[in-house]
């Protein structure tokens, strides 16, 4: 469910879930380069998985 989340982002809160962080680390993906789709823009595993898929995608399929 994706509702709510219309609140100010926490100034000193990490903007990624812990699992997303670990996953990004493994693939050398900079969390800050991703657009989070979670609450207050938090980066979730789904966002990282999509980034991984983009990395792995053959060049010609990139629009």
């Amino acid at each position: 469910k994706q509702t709510g989340g219309q609140r100010p982002p926490h100034p000193n809160r990490t903007l990624a879930t812990p699992v997303a962080r670990r996953m990004a680390r493994e693939f050398n993906i900079d969390i800050a380069s991703l657009t989070g789709t979670g609450h207050s823009g938090r980066v979730r595993t789904e966002d990282v998985q999509q980034a991984i898929a983009r990395l792995n995608a053959p060049q010609e399929t990139v629009a």
Partner: protein
């Protein structure tokens, strides 16, 4: 008071429908709900709530057998009166169902008593005692729920053959009972009747009862049920029910040939089917269904525009909290918001003795899906609170993925159904084992076992001996 047009009309006031009604009303919609039988649906009247009230009675009765150890002497054995227990259960049900009525009023939801029929133009006809009322709505949410599925076989409609709709008002404890079906409902009711003093036999067609439950957890439960005197027969197909000398005689075919069982009562609990009464017109108009259940997308939309469906009507989860969450999602979408139902993290509570609960994958499922998993378990016997309350059977089992994420968790033991929420929250919030480990768990509580299971999976549990190969963090 009632009107001829509504923003949203809801069919069925079970935990799916009434929650959808409240949420939609809170979103500012003008809402009607139609209920043909009882506010609160299966769950409050003949499901979750009466079963948990009776299980509470059963557990209390069962615990009386071990009070001597605590220094409490009962000079005479306790006497159990089924009729009074049923009266207690009725009081609980009454309180909850009338609570739903109050909530409808408080949220200004119009309640229509009667059978609701719907068409694709979103006209609703409510029939009650031959009287008809009609209104239309911009959006419809179908929450018709489910009913017991009774397979046709000789004797199934006989006297003293009950199902989960009809087993709640016995005035005497059955001497003996055969439960046909070893799914969650069958097993819960078997445990309940057993603890109330009934000699129970469970007959299951498959090789295992509770097939979807993690194997290790299931095996322990089956062993405990055996110790409590419940006879579990698997690989047995019930063929007929006969009356012989005032007993019900259940004939089965098994891999070892024919076997028959006798008892005072039979309880049919093989499965449930979607309740499509009132949906005949919609089905003619093309409502998409799949093996009798209404098909929906993750926004809870059916294939017909503006018509949503939720709960037991739609799929086989058969869980009240899933119906309710779907109700919230459907109401959000029907009021112009945007919400998506996620089925990855659905806790599954099972009210046996001891309780079981799980969330996420079983070990077998996880092994198939992920190459690198860690699986570990932590026994209740090593938790001070469990020892202090004398409930040490069982364990907590976790399945951890390579990012330290919980893939699945399974608890068998005291309070399992409450405890599973910690793991559910961790999974939904995408926390890793590190956050669970860093969270101070209060002492002495059962929740300590959940942290310890994670520590065990990480190779450094505190309250059980380390494994041969202790892994440094």
């Amino acid at each position: 008071m009632t009107s001829t047009h509504y923003d949203i009309a809801i069919i069925g006031a079970g935990p799916g429908g009434y929650v959808a009604a409240i949420r939609a009303a809170q979103r500012g919609a003008k809402v009607a709900i139609v209920e043909k039988q009882y506010m609160g649906g299966t769950c409050l009247n003949v499901g979750c709530i009466p079963s948990k009230a009776m299980l509470h009675v059963a557990e209390t009765l069962h615990n009386l057998s071990s009070v001597e150890e605590l220094g409490i002497t009962l000079l005479q054995p306790p006497v159990f009166h089924m009729d009074k227990a049923v009266a207690f259960k009725d009081k609980v049900v009454k309180r909850m169902t009338s609570g739903v009525g109050t909530l409808m009023k408080a949220n200004k939801v119009d309640v229509f008593d009667g059978l609701g029929s719907v068409d694709a133009s979103k006209n609703v006809t409510v029939t009650s005692n031959g009287n008809k009322q009609q209104f239309s709505a911009d959006k419809i949410i179908l929450a018709n729920g489910s009913v017991p599925f009774i397979p046709s076989m000789p004797g199934v409609d006989g006297d003293k053959v009950m199902n989960s709709d009809t087993c709640w008002n016995l005035q005497k404890t059955p001497e003996s009972l055969i439960c046909v079906g070893g799914g969650v409902i069958g097993i819960e009711l078997a445990c309940m009747f057993s603890a109330l003093g009934t000699k129970v036999t469970v007959i299951e067609m498959l090789p295992n009862v509770l097939a979807p439950v993690d194997e290790e957890v299931r095996k322990l439960l089956v062993r405990i049920m055996g110790k409590r005197g419940i006879n579990i027969v698997t690989n047995a197909r019930v063929e007929s029910i006969e009356d012989v000398d005032g007993q019900k005689k259940v004939r089965t075919t098994t891999d070892k040939g024919e076997q028959t069982f006798s008892a005072e009562y039979v309880l049919m609990a093989v499965s449930r089917r979607a309740n499509t009464s009132g949906l005949e017109q919609l089905m003619e108009q093309g409502l998409d269904t799949d093996r009798g259940r209404v098909r929906v997308n993750e926004r809870m939309e059916t294939n017909l525009p503006g018509i949503y469906a939720i709960g037991d009507l739609t799929h086989g989860a058969g869980l009240a909290h899933v119906a309710s969450m779907e109700g919230e999602i459907a109401a959000d979408n029907a009021t112009g918001h945007d919400a998506i139902m996620n089925y990855d993290v659905v806790p599954n509570p099972i009210y046996t003795f001891p309780e079981m609960a799980s969330v996420g994958l079983t070990e077998a499922q996880a092994k198939e899906k992920y190459p690198e998993i860690r699986v570990e378990r932590f026994p209740w016997a090593a938790i001070g609170k469990a020892v202090a309350i004398g409930e040490t059977e069982g364990f907590t089992k976790v399945i951890i993925g390579k990012y330290g994420e919980l893939l699945g968790a399974h608890i068998i033991g005291p309070d399992a159904t409450n405890l599973i929420t910690e793991y559910s929250l961790a999974m939904r919030g995408e926390l890793t084992v590190d956050e669970i480990e860093e969270t101070i768990h209060p002492h002495p509580t059962l929740s300590e076992g959940l942290r310890e299971a994670v520590l065990a999976a990480e190779g450094h549990p505190i309250h059980i001996p380390p494994k041969q190969s202790v892994r440094a963090r």
